[in-house]
């Protein structure tokens, strides 16, 4: 709609406006707070594991900027995906499809927060980290949301990189660069993303099919997806243990992460084995639920062990 048309509509006889209905809570929902909490946590672990020191106030501001940047990506994602969010049961209550916030309002909100978080991070922490946050937002919004999500079943494989960047950003906030250790943290989340999302897609494939999103079960079929989930789980396990093998995590991490990874592979195997009926659905839900706990525990272990080492 052109600005002239919009003006005409707004200055019509009734002069009513469909916007301006969003509450503060609706705008907070646009930031995808649950995703944001994972971003904050993994970025924090990246910061704590990095060698060197960052003043606690600057570290706090850095984390806040990373969180706001992630939230801004979420708002821009909801702006662009409003049409398909209306169709899927999981997303139809989001503020835009629910009619509480207009797409234009979400766009302006997302752009403002993106710009603010990137500039503040650059000014307060360092410009490399600010640029990395800008790249992450662009990657999530342009590469994943606008391009990959609707065009290829590899959408969440490649797009998953956006969700895996936060520990690198946290690490770079302290050191000003990217290192092997931060790349390992990136790889853990990057390789964890496909089995996590495909488990969800297995029991929500009807939603994705209705919305026309080419998720792996919709395009390649459930059988192929189950095999790929198992393959990713098997490849992920040694990557998760590698911080111990490379010497930047201790034996406690090595032992516990091996056990947690074994459970993850076992649950993925269960998904691969059970292919019919309610048992198949339950296996996928169990893998999806455990995957969230698994990633949280891996990063919590890395953090806990690091804090203990610092104290001793």
């Amino acid at each position: 709609m052109s600005l002239a048309e919009r003006h005409e509509m707004m200055t019509g006889q009734d002069a009513t406006w469909e916007g301006g209905m969003g509450s503060v809570g609706d705008y907070i929902a646009l930031l995808k707070p649950r995703v944001m909490s994972l971003v904050i946590f993994t970025a924090f672990v990246g910061m704590m594991l990095a060698p060197g020191q960052l003043h606690p106030v600057l570290a706090g501001v850095g984390l806040l900027c990373i969180a706001i940047g992630a939230g801004a990506s979420g708002a821009l994602n909801m702006w662009y995906d409003a049409d398909i969010d209306r169709i899927m049961s999981r997303t139809k209550k989001r503020p835009i499809p629910a009619g509480k916030i207009t797409p234009d309002e979400a766009l302006v909100f997302g752009l403002t927060l993106s710009l603010g978080s990137v500039l503040t991070l650059g000014l307060v922490v360092n410009w490399f980290t600010g640029a990395f946050l800008a790249f992450t937002i662009l990657f999530y919004v342009v590469i994943y949301t606008m391009w990959l999500k609707r065009s290829t079943p590899q959408n969440i494989v490649i797009g998953g990189a956006a969700g895996a960047f936060p520990p690198i950003i946290g690490w770079a906030a302290v050191t000003g660069n990217v290192s092997l250790e931060s790349l390992i943290l990136f790889l853990i989340i990057f390789m964890w993303t496909p089995p996590h999302f495909w488990a969800l897609a297995l029991f929500k494939s009807g939603d994705y099919r209705a919305a026309g999103i080419p998720m792996m079960p919709v395009v390649a079929g459930e059988s192929s997806t189950r095999t790929q989930i198992l393959a990713y789980a098997v490849i992920l396990a040694p990557i998760v243990v590698s911080p111990y093998l490379l010497g930047f995590a201790g034996p406690v991490y090595g032992g516990v992460s091996s056990a947690l990874s074994a459970v993850f592979v076992a649950l993925a195997f269960n998904v691969w084995r059970k292919r019919e009926g309610d048992a198949a659905r339950k296996a996928a839900i169990r893998l999806f639920s455990y995957s969230i706990l698994y990633l949280f525990l891996i990063f919590a272990l890395l953090l806990g062990e690091n804090l203990l080492t610092r104290m001793v």
Binding site: T11, M21, S23, V24, V124
Partner: protein, 51 residues
């Protein structure tokens, strides 16, 4: 001249008020944040350096 501006409903006015309060709080928090960051980054002598 007839007033052709957008007329907000009561619900829209209420939502705008709560958003305005939230924006005011965020702005106040940002002022404090940048003040503290300035002190941390440049030190307490930030105002006593030669011109």
């Amino acid at each position: 001249m007839e007033d052709d501006r957008v007329k907000l409903t009561e619900k829209q006015k209420q939502a705008r008020r709560s958003r305005s309060i939230a924006i005011a709080l965020v702005l106040a928090a940002l002022v404090i944040l940048f003040y503290v960051v300035t002190i941390v980054k440049m030190g307490p002598d930030v105002l006593t350096r030669p011109l």
